[in-house]
Structures are given as structure tokens and as C-alpha cells.
Symmetry: C2
């Protein structure tokens, strides 16, 4: 219980490397990226942070689950986007929540919501706080209560016959998997934020997960959801499938806290895989690799992993230093050996010029996958050091149909490079693929304009987002909308749907307390 999360970046306080090590890594990173040397900054300590006084006083009846101390307010001020980390690193917490509530059960949560409605305060649901789109940031100019769900973190029930589990919304990835493991089950939802994000957050934001095909979003694993709205409990029936009107679950999934606070969900879980096949294949170009991926995604083979990295991304993560595009391909099953699946997949790759790394030596096949996965999970930790190093680092992601894929990728690369200027690195990978398209994910790295990073971010974010929208993509495939994507989301969604969503929200949250400013 003494272990605390860092107040400004990723992970726990005890995971922050000592200043000397940060300095060395920062210097090496700039050199590796071809940037001029620059001084390495240090984060503003929590003790030096000044916060506005809380505008709200929790009632005595909620005093034991409400906190107003600086650490709590600071760590619930932001998500974990680059903008968030930069602001937190510099000690800028201009608009923290007034109160942080930690309900232990639905009864307490209900009382917190009732108090918010009475006090006219915004209620901002907070899971792991790993939003990268401003989804958990309090609205400006309004008293706000951040409602942290992490005390509701239990797997309440397991139905092994139906392979489903009832899980509380505040359970973070590792804790949730630990509880399922005893039953031989696993949710197998592994977003990059896995260590620190929660089931409720995944559902509220339509998080993308482990499976590159078929079950790409958490949506596909939701059997039923339960949420508290200011006007009662919204709970669907546990059903394997239904055709009874528009799906109630699909309106809650992705609602980003504006319709209700998700408290628990029955999730479809998996038996732990016993059979695995994996391979690393290289291609002359990203475009050639994408054609192989398209063939794979339309083959009905359903690889669990099918992540294509462009040459720069493969080099950057150390997965393939030779500058060729790399496809990390994997199959897994709890039921059957997968040789025929992989054999056919390798044929399809070969048809499109894919060459197996390490030939047919199966023992080396898993290497690309595991080295890429390690880099993937380490990235948010490394980002903290990049901020100290004055390296601007951001990601953009979308999904687009195959007919528009090449053009969209080229356009985002070009517009992002234009916005960031010479010396910027823009890499691309595919995180998830579909028969009708793919989800490209861009990473941009550039020398930061120190002290002016937020303006720099505004510029490149607008440039990339315009390219995405203009190219026929979605403003987000799995990062959610939050506050940051609003301008483009508003243009993307059908107007009558926006009206319908506003009306739906007003029906269940007439006082408009739930996460105001997000989505509508």
C-alpha cells in the first residue's frame, strides 16, 4: 500500500530511474534519433505544485471515501497523453478535480452521483487514468468530482460452462487476469496500457486489445454491462446473442462516461491457449506487406497476431534492424495444433513477397514477436524519459478501408512531417486488420519546442487529424474521443446520431453531470 503511482508519468514512483540514468538514456535517445544534444529536464516535484483550493466539500456521509489532498487531486487531473505528461512534468495542474471519490460498492457510487447532482458538480468516471485523449480531465469552469473505480476490482463470479466471468469495472489488467487464472481462464485483452487500465475504462472507450483480427475491440467480449445512471441502473441481460431491438450494450460501449458509470460486466473469457505458432516475415515495403496482410485478413484464417511494422518502426523498436517491413504473425488456440493455419498463412505471405526471418527454423519464430511485445509495453515508460529529453513523441491511429489505405497512410505521414519539420521521424504499423480494411498506427518523434510543446502538439494533431478525416478514416480506432478528438469526431458522426445521443444522455442524465464536454 506504500507503493504509489508517479504523479506525472507512467508507472510507480519506485520505477522512475535515477536522474543519472534518465540523463544517459535521454542523451542516447536524442542521438539515436539524429537530434542535436539538449539539456535534460527534471520533473517538478509534487511538493512544488500549487493547486487551486477545492471548490467543493464532500458531505460528512461521504467523507471516508472522498479525498482532497494534493496527490489525489494531481493524479486525477489528467490522463496519460503526451500533453498530459508534459503538463504534469512541468507541474502545471490548473484544473484539478475538487474531490476524488473512491466508492467501494454501487451503493456508495450511487450516493456520490446523487451528491454531484445536488451540488451541480461534474462527475468524471476514472478507471486507470490512462486516457490519451483527455477523457478523464475535469471540464473547465465547473466543480468536479473524479470518481475512481479502482476499489471495485473483483471477479465476482465465473461461469465455466459458458466461459464467462462477472468482473467489476475497476479491476486493472493484471489483477483481473490473476483472478481468472485460477479458473484456467483469461480475458486476453492486452492493450498497451494493460498494467494500469481497467475493465470499465476499456468498455467505456472501446479499447483495442490483443487480437489483431476478429475480436479486435473489447466490444466483442462484452456479454452484458451494468452501469449506474443518475436515473437508475442500466443493466442488460446476459445473452450470447440477441436481436431484440438495437443493442443496449452497444450504446453503453464507447459512451466514455456520459451515459452512466459502468460498475461491472459479464465478459466472454477464453481458455488459456495451449497451442501457438508464430513467425516473423519481412517485405520489401510496407505497402507490399499490407497486401499480404489484406490477403490474410480475407482468408478466414484469423491470426491472433498480425502486426505489420514499417521499416522505421521495426528498426526503432529493435524488432528488425535491416530497414525492411516486418510482419509479426501469430496463431493461438486452446483446442488444436495450428500447423495447417500457419502453413497456409505463410503461403499467402510468400505470394506477396514475404520472406520468413530465420527461414523455417521454428525455434526462432517467436523472437520477433517477443522483442516487439517488450518494446510495446516499455514504450510508455520510455516516453517519460523522452519528455525529459525534449523529444516530442505522439501517436495517431485510425482505421480505413483497403481501397483508401495507401493514400491515407501516405497523407498522414506527409502532413505530420510537414507539421513537425525536418528531422521528424514518422513511423507506421498496423495494429488490427479486417477483411475490409486496417488500422494504421503512427508514431511521430521530433525535437520538442521546449516550453511550447502544447502548441506544437496542436499543430501536428490538427495536421494528422485532417489527413485522417480527409482520407476517409475514423478519428480513432481504439483511443476513444475524449476532449482531444471532439472537433473531428463531430464532423465524422452522422448529425442525426449526434442529436439522438444528446437526447439519450439527457434522458438518463438530465442534470448533465456525467463527464460533460466528452462526446457531446
Amino acid at each position: 500500500m506504500t507503493r504509489r503511482r508517479k504523479h506525472w508519468g507512467w508507472g510507480f514512483e519506485d520505477q522512475q530511474p535515477p536522474p543519472g540514468e534518465v540523463e544517459a538514456t535521454a542523451t542516447a535517445a536524442r542521438e539515436h534519433l539524429g537530434f542535436e544534444p539538449a539539456p535534460v529536464e527534471r520533473p517538478v516535484p509534487l511538493d512544488d505544485v500549487t493547486l487551486p483550493a477545492p471548490a467543493l466539500d464532500p458531505p460528512a456521509s461521504l467523507a471516508d471515501i472522498c479525498r482532497t489532498d494534493p496527490y489525489e487531486r494531481v493524479t486525477h487531473s489528467y490522463g496519460k497523453s503526451y500533453r498530459d505528461v508534459v503538463r504534469a512534468f512541468r507541474g502545471r495542474f490548473d484544473n484539478p478535480p475538487d474531490v476524488v471519490a473512491h466508492p467501494r460498492d454501487e451503493a456508495e457510487l450511487e450516493r456520490v452521483l446523487a451528491w454531484c447532482e445536488e451540488a451541480g458538480a461534474a462527475a468524471v468516471p476514472f478507471g486507470g487514468g490512462t486516457s490519451v485523449v483527455g477523457g478523464v480531465e475535469p471540464p473547465l469552469g465547473r466543480a468536479a468530482v473524479s470518481i475512481d473505480l479502482k476499489r471495485m476490482d473483483r471477479v465476482l463470479e465465473v461461469d465455466s460452462e459458458s466461459r464467462a466471468a462477472l468482473i467489476q469495472a475497476g479491476a486493472m489488467g493484471p489483477l483481473l487476469e490473476d483472478q481468472l487464472r485460477g479458473h484456467g481462464l483469461t480475458l486476453r485483452h492486452f492493450p498497451q496500457s494493460f498494467e494500469y487500465s481497467t475493465l470499465g475504462g476499456w468498455i467505456a472507450t472501446r479499447a483495442g486489445g490483443h487480437y489483431a483480427t476478429l475480436h479486435t475491440h473489447i466490444d466483442d467480449f462484452v456479454e452484458s454491462v451494468r452501469a449506474l445512471t443518475p436515473r437508475g441502473v442500466w443493466e442488460s441481460r446476459r445473452l450470447p446473442g440477441s436481436g431484440a431491438g438495437p443493442s443496449p450494450d452497444r450504446l453503453l460501449i464507447g459512451s466514455e462516461g456520459i451515459l452512466g458509470v459502468i460498475t461491472q460486466a459479464w465478459m466472454r473469457v477464453q481458455n488459456a491457449p495451449r497451442f501457438r505458432e508464430s513467425a516473423g516475415l519481412t517485405f520489401d515495403s510496407f505497402e507490399a506487406g499490407a497486401r499480404a496482410v489484406r490477403a490474410l485478413s480475407q482468408s478466414g484464417l484469423h491470426p491472433s497476431n498480425c502486426r505489420l511494422l514499417d521499416g522505421a518502426e521495426a528498426a526503432l523498436t529493435g524488432a528488425a534492424p535491416d530497414g525492411r517491413a516486418l510482419l509479426v504473425l501469430g496463431f493461438e488456440s486452446a483446442d488444436h495444433a495450428l500447423d495447417p493455419w500457419m502453413a497456409r498463412a505463410l503461403e499467402l505471405c510468400a505470394d506477396h513477397g514475404g520472406r520468413a526471418r530465420g527461414g523455417d527454423d521454428r525455434s526462432t519464430r517467436g523472437e520477433a514477436e517477443s522483442s516487439w511485445r517488450d518494446a510495446f509495453l516499455q514504450a510508455p515508460y520510455l516516453r517519460d524519459t523522452l519528455v525529459a529529453a525534449g523529444v516530442f513523441v505522439e501517436t495517431f491511429e485510425s482505421a480505413v478501408t483497403w481501397d483508401r489505405f495507401d493514400a491515407l497512410v501516405a497523407s498522414v505521414r506527409e502532413r505530420a512531417r510537414e507539421a513537425l519539420g525536418a528531422g521528424a521521424t514518422v513511423t507506421c504499423r498496423l495494429t488490427h486488420v479486417y477483411p475490409d480494411g486496417a488500422a494504421p498506427y503512427f508514431t511521430v518523434l521530433a525535437p520538442a519546442r521546449r516550453g511550447d510543446e502544447l502548441a506544437q502538439w496542436d499543430e501536428v494533431k490538427a495536421a494528422a487529424s485532417e489527413a485522417i478525416l480527409g482520407g476517409g478514416g475514423t478519428i480513432t480506432h481504439h483511443h476513444a474521443v475524449g476532449r482531444d478528438h471532439r472537433p473531428w469526431y463531430d464532423r465524422q458522426r452522422p448529425d442525426p446520431f449526434a442529436d439522438a445521443l444528446r437526447a439519450a444522455k439527457a434522458a438518463v442524465d438530465p442534470a448533465g453531470i456525467l463527464n460533460p464536454g466528452v462526446l457531446v
Copy 2:
């Protein structure tokens, strides 16, 4: 153009067998079912039907697409449920639409909707008119326009790269497939109503289709939808996947005409399958077969066909006369041979006592599948004769998690038999299966209480629906809600969702003209 649909039953007028043949089939059917002989009735001819005068007069500007003649009004009065066929057979058309509009494009549809709003008339979208839940029946006590979409029946665009097609809502199954065939593509959505139902109807009702696993509903094939609402065009972006807020498509899918009139959709289509494996397996009991099906559905093998018939159903359809439960299992692929898939599936079946019919002789494997499919498509034609024969015939369907599966099936059987009395036959099959449950589909056959069939229907419908709801199932897996399922649907859905849906409807249809009485 001279070929007309029957005004009271399934198929075309020229498909109605002559009276002597109906008489013979009807007599044989009653005998086969063990019912006492009974006189065979004849349908009331259209000329003998009396209709109330139309309460509405279409404006001159819409005169060329509006019809008020008896044939049009009669054939748009009902769907094709047993209740509908009985009423139509007896010449009872108490509440026909006043006008039937046949818009040829969106501009005409928009004008029809504007006129309905102005005239305060209900606008009832009508695709193929095959609803079995009262989904296309005009509301009582209100002028109504039935809007028939069948003139909008074109495949407008094909994107072979993304394997997607833009299809107008009024395209019926065979016409739609004909148009796709030239591109080597197929939607492969084959509900029992395939010959006469439309894409727009499938989407509006979340129709269940060809695939027994994985892509069970039309929902899974929708890439984007376009609908006209009284407050503008609701059109989503073509996207292979997205995480931008709650899915706009998922609110339209299943909306049964209350939010807008679906005019076209980009659909994910398939390459035509080149490889097929199929097998018929028998089990000692339906419950043993269900355990095999559960293992298959959780295996990740994703059979395209996995239909389990109980002994009575297998005998009734001629698929397996020996009284054992029959599993019709199939795999299909456009990409790869399926021997390893089928081999593993047969192992799983054997683990649960499944015995291959015809041993390992592959040439006979497809027989069960094709004889079952023929019976499946012929059933609605046969039903017309059963009505003439005084045989009560109805189906109930649901979906339920595996932990509650056996109990729900037993309870529906028992309650339906109780309601129908001695001599009733209740059969069950699984139409679609999931890792977490299955969709049981019940057929009931009993001597009809002649002249009192609607009351008989009310009793058995209530009994079966209570058993379904009480057993933890959904009131409909793929027949939609319409008017018939409202009492149970209202209890099934979360109350705040009902409020949200009502508010959403009011936002896009403030005058409440769209399919009033359905869903909300």
C-alpha cells in the same frame, strides 16, 4: 410483371398448388402428425375482401408512386406470421394501410416522409413484408402509409479490394446475390425468408443468416448504413472498425423503422466459397448433441454450419428418420482446404458421443445438409397448406447462455405443450451457436382451434415467452420485436435504455411518424 405475390400467404400466386393437391397434402400432413381428420378450408379470394375506405389521399405530386387499390393495401397489411396468414386466409383485413408508396429514390422517399409528417400519418417502412412479429402492420386508429422500398434494389458500387458493396435497401435476397455474382462476390446472408426479404429489412430487424457461428447476424456484415430520418440523413462513414463513441450503426441496426428508413448500406461481402466440408452426426439425445456443439463453438474452429436438430425435428424434416438428434456440420472457405478443421470437429463430436452418418464416406456427408436446407426453405410454403388443414404451426426462438440452456429448452417445451394440449408436437433445433451459449428454435404443431386460432396463438405465445424470459433468454434472437414481442421486450431491456431510445427517437422523429408502436 404479371407475376404477383399471393395476397394471403407465401410465394407467388402461380406457386399456390391447386385445391386438389392442397387437399391431399393437408390430409396427409394431419395424418403424419397424428391429428384427427378435418375438413380442408380454402382462402377467401381477394375479390371477396372488404376494406375500409382509405383515410388518406396522396397529394398529386406523389400520385405516380402511391397506390390505394385493394391488392396493394391487402398485401401491405400484414407480415407473414402464422397470425398474419390465418387472418389473411380468412379475408380479415381490418386495418390495412391507407396508401402504399413505392419511392424509386431517396428524393421521393423524402417527399413521402414529409407528406406523412404533414398529414400526421404513420409511416411504416416495408421491405419484403416477411416480418413474423407484426413489424410492418399499421398502428390501430391512425392513418398510415406503407412505404415499400422494393424499387430501390440495386447494387450501386462494388469495392473488390475491400470486399464490400453498396447495396440499396429494397434489394431482395436473390436479386442482390445475382448482382454480386458477376463480381465473384456473395453476401451469404440466407435467412429462411431469403427469397422475399430485403437488405433493409434484414438490417432493421437484425436478421440471422447463413453462418451458424461467428457472423450470426446481419449486424456483422454492415460496414456503414444510410437512413433517412424526418430530421435529415443519418449516414455513417465506411469503416472496417472504429472506436469513436458508441457505434452509430449499432443504434440503427435493429431499430425496426422507428429511427429512420434505411435506404442503402455498404456491406462486407465474401468471395464465393471454393472449399466445403460437411458432415451429419447423430447423438443419443439433444442434450448430448448440445454438449458437442458447445465444445465446437468454444474451439475456435468456426464452422459455417452447426445446426443441431432434436429427434422430432430431424424426423419431421426427413433429415434423420431414426429419432436420434442430428448435427448438420459444415465448413466453407474461399481460401483453403478444410480437412484439418473438419477432422478436429469430428474428434470433438466423437468426444461427446457423436456418430458420423454414413461413416467416413465423404460423398454422403452433404446429404443431411441439403435435405435439411430444402425442408428449411419449403417450410413457409408448406405452412400455407397447414393453415388450410387446420394445423396450428408456430415457431419460438431465443438465445441463452450455456449454463441455463438445458433448463430453458425443457421449460419452453413443457409450457408450450401445456398450452397446446395433448397431441401437440414441440420440436427444437439450434440455429446459431456461440462460445457462451446457443440460439434454440422451437416449432410447435397442434390441431388448430378453428376460428379461434388467434386466441390459441395468444395462449401458447404467452406461455412460451414467459418460459423464455423466465429462463434467462432473449425474447428474440433474430425474429425482431415488432408488436408481438413488445410485452416481453419491455421487461427484458434496461429501463434507462428504454428512456434513452425513446428520447433518441423523439430527437430524429419529433412528430412520431415512424412505425409507431414498434419497440417504443
